[in-house]
Symmetry: C2
Subunit: 133 residues, 2 copies
């Protein structure tokens, strides 16, 4: 990968475990709590969902721009959690809407976005992850 | 997967693209901005790093508890971004420290944690992701 220089680096740290804060080195702090307890706070489910929704929608926004249409796309990622044989598992379902074009065009743009968006590339081959219009 | 009931569901939404806000339905709002611009705000790099650090450290915390040792583990995930052939790619490097045990024990606990932590399971097989003590 040496032909592609690094454009950005960040460091995300958790010291507290599931109750407390996670934080970016020299950056934002996010209160975290167990998703199965009533305590307020975010959790890995929300954070990975926000990462996928934001990455994919930013990529769709770039594709809209290439087609000279105003940005209207939206990505909603539902994250579900259950146990599995050894611990826990997440199920991600990212629903994409591009209201200014027909469904075939939206599906085509999404296919392009999935080749560009780094979070979709990290997650997309997993059987627990669905990305669709 | 029908044998494992869903224990938690959340929905993470991005409408704005890379500049604006991403949000959890009925929950937190996160300002987002391009990582290559000086504008303040989080980004997919930070959010996926926080998801992995928090999930993995929460799992290590549970393993510490099973061994009756006080929680001291820490996970620092460095996320780097570069272009690739079709768009962008992320490189994730999660560095785990468990200061109260020796390195072999820490490596063993990490191996167990990787079989339980849902974010590690979603990301761990990717060549761009490294998880290590």
């Amino acid at each position: 990968m040496a032909e592609f220089p690094i454009l950005y680096t960040t460091k995300a740290i958790n010291e507290d475990g599931i109750h407390g804060e996670a934080y970016i080195e020299d950056g934002m702090r996010v209160p975290v709590a167990s998703p199965t307890k009533p305590d307020p706070g975010s959790n890995p489910e929300q954070l990975i969902g926000l990462a996928l929704s934001t990455c994919l929608n930013a990529t769709l926004e770039a594709i809209e721009k290439e087609h000279d249409v105003p940005h209207q796309s939206k990505v909603e990622t539902t994250v579900k959690m259950s146990r599995d044989r050894f611990g826990y598992q997440f199920f991600l379902d990212a629903k994409v809407t591009v209201p200014e074009v027909d469904l075939d065009t939206a599906a085509h743009w999404l296919a392009i976005a999935e080749t560009r968006c780094p979070v979709a590339k990290l997650l997309g081959d997993n059987v627990n992850v669905k990305i669709h219009v």
